[in-house]
């Protein structure tokens, strides 16, 4: 059973547009929700993360929106750039014991 469900599987956005990736989780015990960015041939790298006691976290052009009651969180990339083209993974964990990853979203930002 997949603990974290991610959509869409792939996304094409024009340069300057907004990219939105959504995730939903089941386990209300999860207390940390990171997003990872993976470029081809590289390992995933932490992009931004949020705890469930806040509804939004912003770092530069990247924002996580968190809806605790709906058990959903999303990544928004503002002013998307071709260099943002990568695969994005949401994840969730309880007490950093085990990380459960979403299935990934391949983002392609067209110049």
């Amino acid at each position: 059973q997949q603990q974290v469900k991610q959509s869409p599987q792939s996304l094409i956005v024009q340069k300057g547009g907004i990219s939105i990736i959504n995730c939903a989780y089941e386990n209300t015990a999860f207390d940390y929700f990171p997003w990872y960015q993976q470029f081809p041939g590289k390992g995933p790298a932490l992009l931004i993360a949020i705890r469930p006691d806040v509804s939004e976290k912003k770092e530069g052009r990247f924002t996580i929106s968190f809806n605790k009651s709906a058990k959903q969180f999303s990544l928004h990339i503002m002013d998307s750039q071709p260099g943002d083209s990568a695969t994005y993974f949401c994840a969730a964990t309880y007490n950093f014991n085990k990380f459960y990853f979403g299935s990934g979203t391949k983002l392609n930002v067209k110049p």
Binding site: Y32, P34, Y36, Q38, G41, K42, G43, P44, A45, L46, A49, T87, F89, T93, F96, N97, K98, F99, F101, S103, G104, K106
Partner: protein
């Protein structure tokens, strides 16, 4: 000055062979992991070691055997390789008592022919 390094980066081998992947981290972390990424990019945890002690052992065939000689190293040995073992294997580390952030290596792409 790589934080999490794993070797080899690429591995091509025949079915039935035995192979090993090595991982080292220089971040001073206390926990290390092996993740498997399949052709659909799905990341699945296989094993986790905290201070050389196995703490997570997912439903993985016993042909896969991890070994942690010390906190900075975690190796993965695979016996009797099968076609379905073809994947990218990622080593990762974290400091469970700290930020908990996962740091991944660059992956080892295993192809079984």
């Amino acid at each position: 000055d790589t934080a999490v390094s794993q070797t080899p980066k690429y591995l091509v081998t025949q079915m039935g062979n035995d192979k090993s992947i090595k991982c080292e981290q220089n971040l001073g972390h206390d926990t290390m992991y092996w993740y498997k990424q399949d052709s659909k990019k799905f990341l699945k945890i296989m094993f986790s070691y905290n201070n050389k002690e196995l703490i997570i052992n997912e439903t993985v065939p016993n042909r896969f055997s991890p070994k942690s000689p010390d906190k900075a190293h975690l190796n993965l040995h695979i016996n009797s390789l099968e076609l379905g073992d073809s994947a990218v294997y990622f080593c990762a580390s974290s400091h469970m008592q700290g930020s908990g952030e996962l740091f991944f290596g660059e992956g080892s792409r295993l192809t079984v022919l």
